[in-house]
Each structure stands twice: as C-alpha cells, then as structure tokens.
C-alpha cells in the first residue's frame, strides 16, 4: 500500500498548483519551496504563497509508448513541459488530445484527473494534467 500521508500533504500543489514566491528576488517556485535557493539566508521568512497560472503553452513534449503501470490504460500518451502564462515550467501529461497534433507552442490548461490508483481497494491519487486550450 502506498503512503496515504505522502499524497495527502501534496494536495495543494497537485490539485490547485499552489506554489511559492520569494519576496526577496521574485522567483516563483513550483513545486513549492520554502527556502529560496537563489537568496538562501536572505530569503528566509520572505517566502509567500503563490497561485500558479493554470494556462500556458507546450515548451516541449513526447509521446510515451513505454508506459509505467499508472498510465497503462492510456498509452500511448503525451507528456509535456508547459511554460505557464506566469513563466513557470511544469512537467505533466497532456490528455484528451489528438497525439498527432501535439506540438511545441500549443496552448494548454491544467485540469484535475486521476493520476493513479493503489490497486482496486487503495487510495485514488488526483492531480493536474493538461488538456488543449483555445
């Protein structure tokens, strides 16, 4: 059985793209960082909550055929790095898309989907994936 607490504590990031921002240097972090690697000591106490923008564009992509167990039912599937409209890079899946049409520069938005399930009786992990946007 996978750890329930491990998933639960990441819910703000997984569901709602909650990140952080260093008020000292202005860098936005996703996943959240509570210690700014750029400012180090100077950033302590200056880390603020930050809502990452849910829309962006594909920076790069791949169609994955050799899938992990969690993606067995949807393979082949697209993985992407998305640069959100506030300039933050996020890696994830791009679903509900014609795989032939996936391209660098494509507009996408984050939605909530099932990421994996811990067998038939275990916990269901939910989190962000991307879908094509206008």
């Amino acid at each position: 059985m996978s750890s329930v607490a491990r998933e639960w504590r990441e819910v703000p990031g997984r569901y709602n793209l909650k990140g952080t921002k260093c008020a000292n240097c202005g860098t936005i972090y996703f996943p959240r960082r509570d210690f700014c690697p750029k400012c180090r000591r100077a950033g302590i106490g200056k880390i603020e909550e930050y809502d990452i923008c849910r829309t962006g564009e594909v920076y790069t992509y791949s169609i994955v055929y050799d899938a992990p167990a969690m993606c067995d039912m949807i393979k082949p599937y697209a993985v992407v790095m998305v640069r959100t409209d506030d300039g933050v890079m996020i890696a994830g899946q791009l679903v509900d898309v014609d795989l032939e049409k996936v391209a660098i520069g494509m507009r996408v938005r984050a939605v909530m989907r099932k990421l994996s399930t811990d067998g038939e009786s275990g916990i269901i992990r939910y989190g962000y994936k991307f879908v094509p946007a206008e």
Binding site: V11, Y15, N16, M73, I74, V95, D96, D98, V111, M112, R113, K114, L115, I124, Y126, K129
Partner: protein, 350 residues
C-alpha cells in the same frame, strides 16, 4: 429572500461511442436501437476521469463565472451521484478542496439514482433560505455503468453540472421547488455489484412517467401555470424518447425542450442529466425567461423547479467558461475495444 442560481458550470468527457458500434459487438441492430431510444451517441469517460474529476471541472467552470465570489463563502457542497469513486470517502471533500472552499463548510455525497443532483439543489436552497450558509454548491455527476450487452449499455454515459446556490446576484431565481416520492423499485444496484438492474418496461409508466407527471402537475397547480407559461422545460432524460413523450403529455412543445435535451447527443448522464440540460438552457437564456424543470430518480422520486432568469444574467460572466455546446463539440470517437478498456470491462492481470 430570493434564493436561486448564482452560477453554474457543466462538463462532459470528450470521448463518444455510437450505438451501432455497441450493437456490432452484441449482434444487435444498434442503429435501430439508437433510433428507438433517440440516442445517437454517448459520452465515455477517459480512464483518468471519474465523478470527482467531472464534478471538479464543472465546479471550476462554475467558479470561473463568478470571479467575485470568495470560495470561502461556500458553506455547503453536495455531490449527487450513483458512481462515486469511493463507497466510503466523500467525493464532495475532494471537490471542495479543488475549488478551495475548505475548511469552514459542510459536505456530503448524495445518492438518489438519477436525481441526486437536483436533491442537492433543494438541500442548498434550504440552507441558503434559512440563512445557515451564504452559498451552497450542488453537483450532479455520474460515470454510469450499463452491463455489457444490456439495453443500458447504449445509454449510460458520463457528465455533470455544478450549481452555486445563493441569494445575492441570483441569475435565475427558483420560484418554487417540490417533490413527488414513492417506493417504486424500477432500477437498483446492490452494494458491491458492478452493474445496476432494472425492471424493464416497469421503468416506464409506473415509474418515470407517473413520478414526473405527478410532480409537474403539482407544480402547475401550486404556481397556477400551464406549459405555455414557460419558455423552456427540462426533464430527466434516460433516453431521448421518454422526455419527448412526457413533455408532450404535459403540453410542452419540442421547441421548449430543445435546449434541455442533451441525451441524444451524449447519452444518459444520470445524476448529471437534468443539471446538464438546465445548464444548456441557461447558456441560451435571457432575463425574464421562465424555465420548468423536473428530474426523476429511480426508486423513485421527482423534483420539480419553477425558475425565472433575472436581469442579473446581463452582468453575469457567462463567457468566463465554455458553453456546453463548446464543451460537447469536437468529440473523439472510440470503438468498442477502446470503450471496454476505458470502462474497465477487460479483466487485467494483477
């Protein structure tokens, strides 16, 4: 106090299957079957979609349209479904977290076959009307199951809609709601069973038609109205045929039910059916339009609503989220093999 709809949002998965494709597998003339049911295609959830993700998408669209509403002012969230992903562990808490309404709120999952969504609207109306909460969210969503080869397999689909119920900036005032409820076992699913069972033609006259017409007539009587007083009507739609017939019995024309009838295009979304039909009507409605709504849930009961679209609709940011027509456009068609895989009908190794 005017209680009513402050915002709404609807979502339907992008995949579709046609009845002729289902019929091809089971040796049935699927095309005639679809014609008889008035279902020309049905939505299919992706393997990574369930009632939680559908309800969340609908609820996020709902919130997108009211950027001034603080989700922390939502005091209650009810998700009505007969296909909650967990038997024990609420869908509603996950949706609440996903729209950042937690933690000062109440939440629960509801089940009443296909009318759990409208039951949620009634519960929210009560809480708002009593001043217990500022806003309540009611969602009807399903990823319903039809047994392979069963008639239900041609109709059972996926989708859902979310409603923000409140008393400020109401875009559609709910003038009245009432229900007609009896113990009628026309359709059921026992605990632990993967597929529901139904009473065949028993689901018609004594069940669907009796409950809807009874609730509707009670509403006409209470409001002193007839079908002609409403611009639009939405009825529960297990297929296209039943709501068309019941509308006629109650004196409604095809034009009046046109926007509220989505089943021919997406199948029966169960708890999502009436909420989605109403959402599509609201996508087209203008101030002053009066809407008649009657849901039906097997087991059995009907909730009727008399609704009037207000002037607030002019200020409402309807364009902040896609219309249902847009959500339903550009589907991806799947064959039965993909459908069977998506729906978990293939026995997989450990």
């Amino acid at each position: 106090m005017d209680v009513g709809i402050v915002s709404y949002g609807g979502y339907v998965p992008r995949y579709r299957i046609k009845p002729e494709e289902i019929g091809r597998i089971w040796g049935v003339d699927g095309k005639s079957m679809g014609k008889g049911l008035m279902i020309y295609q049905k939505s299919v959830p992706s393997p990574d979609e369930d009632v939680v993700t559908i309800a969340t998408e609908a609820a996020r669209y709902m919130m997108d349209r009211v950027p001034d509403v603080d989700p922390k002012d939502i005091g209650a969230i009810y998700v009505g479904s007969e296909s909650h992903p967990y038997a024990v562990k609420p869908t509603a808490t996950i949706v609440a977290e996903a729209i950042e309404a937690t933690p000062a709120m109440t939440a629960a999952d509801m089940e009443f076959a296909c009318k759990a969504g409208t039951a949620g609207i009634q519960a929210c109306m009560g809480l708002v009307g009593a001043g217990m909460v500022k806003y309540g969210v009611a969602i009807g969503a399903d990823t319903s199951q039809g047994a392979p080869g069963d008639a239900l397999e041609y109709s059972a689909s996926a989708g859902g809609a979310a409603y923000l119920i409140g008393s400020e900036k109401v875009i559609a005032k709910i003038n009245k709601t009432l229900s007609f409820t009896t113990d009628t076992p026309d359709f059921w699913r026992r605990e632990g069973q993967p597929y529901p069972k139904h009473g065949g033609r028993f689901t018609g006259e004594p069940a669907y038609f009796k409950h809807i017409t009874s609730a509707a007539k009670m509403m006409f009587e209470a409001m002193g109205t007839t079908a002609a007083d409403y611009k639009y009507a939405v009825f529960h739609q297990p297929n296209g045929k039943f709501p068309t017939r019941v509308a006629k019995q109650l004196g409604f024309s095809d034009e009046q039910i046109q926007y509220g009838l989505l089943t021919p295009n997406i199948g029966n979304t169960y708890s999502g059916a009436v909420p989605l039909g109403l959402a599509n009507v609201l996508d087209h409605a203008e101030p002053g339009d009066r809407i008649f709504v009657t849901s039906y849930g097997s087991g059995a009961g009907s909730d009727a609503f008399d609704i009037t679209v207000t002037d607030e609709m002019a200020n409402y940011r309807r364009d902040n989220a896609p219309t249902l027509e847009k959500v339903m456009a550009d589907p991806i068609y799947v064959d039965y093999g993909i459908y069977a895989k998506f729906k978990g009908k293939i026995l997989m190794p450990e």
